[in-house]
């Protein structure tokens, strides 16, 4: 009744190949954009922006990036934290080296630098597969974090070993540094998310996305039908790292403002983003958003309930939180291995008939 694919006739190729060919999806997309751009910025306060919205948007970018690599191309990576660190540090170096260039360009450039690093660490994927590759990407994780810790050039020889973002403006409004308004942070991240998610959706629908999926489903068969594995795997690594690098740059410059590499981009971050992708749904852009939202909201919610309502000590609450997150991951995998995206698909099936039985 509410979700109908039928009866939605297209009269031109442009109509047929648009990003959301189904009318309901399209209107929903416009409605979400309306709320995100025109409503939330007027109501967002500093708590909501810093605790929920900005981390959600940034993790969504990172999750889309990892989803491209793991969900679409089938290459499991545990190096996400390391690649985010590359994005953050290259953004920092660019910001301090060229203070007059727009921060937006710096973030994009940081994405390209990360893409190059990602291709470098993706090279072994041509020889190594499966879990061996997953462990091999840990080499990237540990090596990169070590590098940013040990080479003072990366943090401009600062005494604390931290990097902190100087104030930069877009159209005269501060978006990094300590004086940034909550809505400015939010809008910058939202802008990146919107463009990147749109690009990701169209990439994965097109030739390149199909070649990734062919490699994922069976690499040898894909090679036989003429997909170039070298090209497919390395482009997946490049695009994925580009997204993750941008997420890292935003995470550092806009969200935290100052980071210490081992703490912000450690192995835990890699696992967190992998969880987002798995819980959200492998091979789904919507799933990346859902997974990011779930894992950003869950700790906030648990903390509010355990510490705020029950009044337990914070360390006990932190341990219980670990238990609940772990148990939820297992429950999720057992109940719905295809993640939240699959629940959404089932929901759409239901909406097609509802409220009628047939």
């Amino acid at each position: 009744m509410f979700y109908r694919e039928a009866g939605d006739f297209k009269t031109s190729y442009v109509d047929d190949s648009q990003t959301f060919p189904i009318r309901f999806d399209r209107y929903r997309y416009y409605a979400v954009l309306m709320v995100a751009f025109a409503v939330i910025p007027f109501f967002v306060d500093s708590y909501w922006a810093n605790a929920i919205l900005v981390p959600f948007l940034i993790y969504a970018i990172a999750a889309i990036g990892l989803n491209i690599l793991t969900g679409y191309c089938g290459q499991v990576s545990l190096g996400t934290g390391g690649f985010m660190a590359v994005g953050a540090y290259s953004c920092y170096k660019l910001m301090t080296a060229f203070p007059d260039v727009s921060i937006i360009l710096h973030v994009i450039a940081a994405g390209f630098i990360t893409a190059a690093v990602g291709v470098l660490f993706g090279l072994p994927s041509l020889r190594i597969k499966g879990f061996y590759l997953a462990v091999a990407t840990l080499a990237a994780q540990f090596f990169l974090v070590w590098l940013f810790n040990k080479v003072p050039w990366f943090y401009n020889y600062s005494a604390s070993g931290q990097i902190s973002a100087p104030e930069r403006t877009v159209f005269g409004i501060a978006v990094t540094g300590p004086n940034t308004e909550a809505w400015a942070k939010y809008l910058v991240c939202l802008l990146f998310v919107m463009v990147l998610a749109w690009v990701a959706r169209n990439l994965t629908r097109g030739t390149i996305g199909r070649s990734w999926m062919a490699i994922r489903d069976m690499d040898i068969a894909a090679e036989i039908i003429g997909v170039n594995p070298l090209k497919a795997k390395l482009t997946a690594f490049a695009v994925s790292s580009f997204y993750i690098g941008i997420a890292g740059a935003l995470f550092f410059a806009v969200y935290l403002g100052a980071v210490e590499v081992g703490e912000a981009f450690g192995i835990q971050k890699s696992f967190l983003i992998l969880f987002m992708v798995i819980i959200g749904g492998l091979g789904s852009i919507f799933g990346s958003f859902a997974g990011a939202a779930f894992l950003v909201l869950l700790p906030v919610l648990l903390k509010n309930v355990l510490v705020g309502t029950l009044g337990w000590p914070t360390d006990l609450a932190a341990h219980i939180e670990l238990m609940i997150v772990g148990a939820l991951i297992i429950v999720f995998l057992i109940a719905e291995p295809h993640g939240l995206a699959q629940l959404w698909r089932i929901g759409k099936e239901k909406l097609r008939l509802w409220p009628f039985p047939h």
Partner: protein, 332 residues
């Protein structure tokens, strides 16, 4: 008489070998589970942490969940007030690990039969998170000292015997007694596991399952029993690793991170080979210590964090199945 520099390098190498034995102990648990169920068990390190926590808790007579009880009921309880003999505590901990294995099979693995390997892998990460929180809630998160009566300190015997190698001012190699014990225990463990899997009925069933799940099922081997068995053995190996690491550096959260150190060992040795885990452990242990000793000072030190991974990565490019792993045959 040999030059001092060379002797230092030898000492570093010996200590590397000993560290390698400890890595190999953790890697062994991985290999067992991977062989029998194709599950890449990320929780192995946390299993070691949990086993060590339980051991210390039982030995010291801590009341489980004391922190939680105190927070919810407003009481103030901590200890039962007894001191359990080490051997009894170890036996009880083995019992707990077996119960844990049964619970894991019952609540997780049973429901995930026939899922993709990545899903199973993620489930073990979830398990690792859960167990980490569970262990902390049950026994408290403070650093504990583990003392089951293992010898500690430098081995005087090795020092005296090796002192003659060097000249004036050389006092012999410094080798921790605990490391020697660990090496012996690892050797015994590997030999008994090999004997078990070669000659006992259960061991043969285990190998049959590792070979082919379906065929094993069709000749009447209970998959569920084998999984409980394997996870129990892995829990036992984790306990041994937990005792060794715990006695060396205290029982604390960082213990669960040794699992990450065991991964390059696995890659080097191959995921499916028990001797591979041992040899890989030794190569990684010696390699990273020697690298830190020779190249480390030039590039800022602390190379042990990543050297093992990079070594394994470079190695894998030339031999994708590891040293002793089964040849990867792909069919379309």
């Amino acid at each position: 008489m040999m030059p001092d520099q060379f002797l230092f390098a030898v000492e570093v190498m010996i200590n590397g070998l000993m560290a390698g034995v400890l890595y190999a102990l953790v890697a062994l648990g991985f290999v067992l589970i991977f062989k029998a169920s194709g599950i890449f068990n990320y929780a192995q390190g946390v299993l070691a942490l949990f086993a060590a926590l339980t051991l210390v808790g039982l030995q010291e007579g801590q009341i489980p969940f004391a922190h939680l009880i105190n927070a919810t009921l407003g009481t103030d309880v901590h200890h039962f007030g007894w001191q359990m003999p080490a051997i009894l505590a170890i036996l009880l901990t083995v019992g707990v690990m077996i119960l844990l294995a049964i619970a894991i099979e019952r609540f997780i693995l049973k429901h995930l039969v026939n899922q993709e390997p990545i899903i199973l892998f993620m489930a073990t990460i979830g398990l690792a998170y859960f167990l980490e929180g569970f262990g902390d809630v049950m026994w408290g998160a403070d650093v504990k000292t583990l003392d089951v009566g293992l010898p500690q300190g430098a081995s005087l015997w090795v020092e005296e015997k090796s002192a003659v190698l060097g000249g004036e001012g050389f006092y012999g190699f410094f080798v921790d007694k605990l490391d020697i014990v660990a090496a012996l225990v690892a050797a015994v463990l590997v030999i008994s596991l090999t004997l078990f899997s070669q000659y006992s009925k259960q061991g043969r069933a285990l190998r049959a399952v590792a070979d082919d799940h379906q065929a094993a099922l069709s000749v009447g081997i209970s998959l569920r029993f084998i999984w409980v068995l394997v996870w129990s053995i892995a829990g036992f190996v984790a306990l041994v690793a937990g005792i060794m690491w715990g006695a060396k550096s205290g029982v604390q959260f960082s213990l669960s991170l040794i699992a990450l150190k065991a991964l390059p060992v696995l890659m080097l040795g191959g995921f499916t080979s028990i001797p591979g885990a041992i040899v890989g452990g030794l190569i990684i242990g010696v390699g990273e210590k020697l690298f830190e000793f020779t190249i480390g000072p030039m590039i800022g030190g602390a190379t042990e964090n990543w050297f093992a991974y990079v070594l394994a990565l470079i190695f894998l490019v030339f031999r994708p199945q590891g040293l002793f792993g089964e040849k990867i045959i792909e069919r379309v």
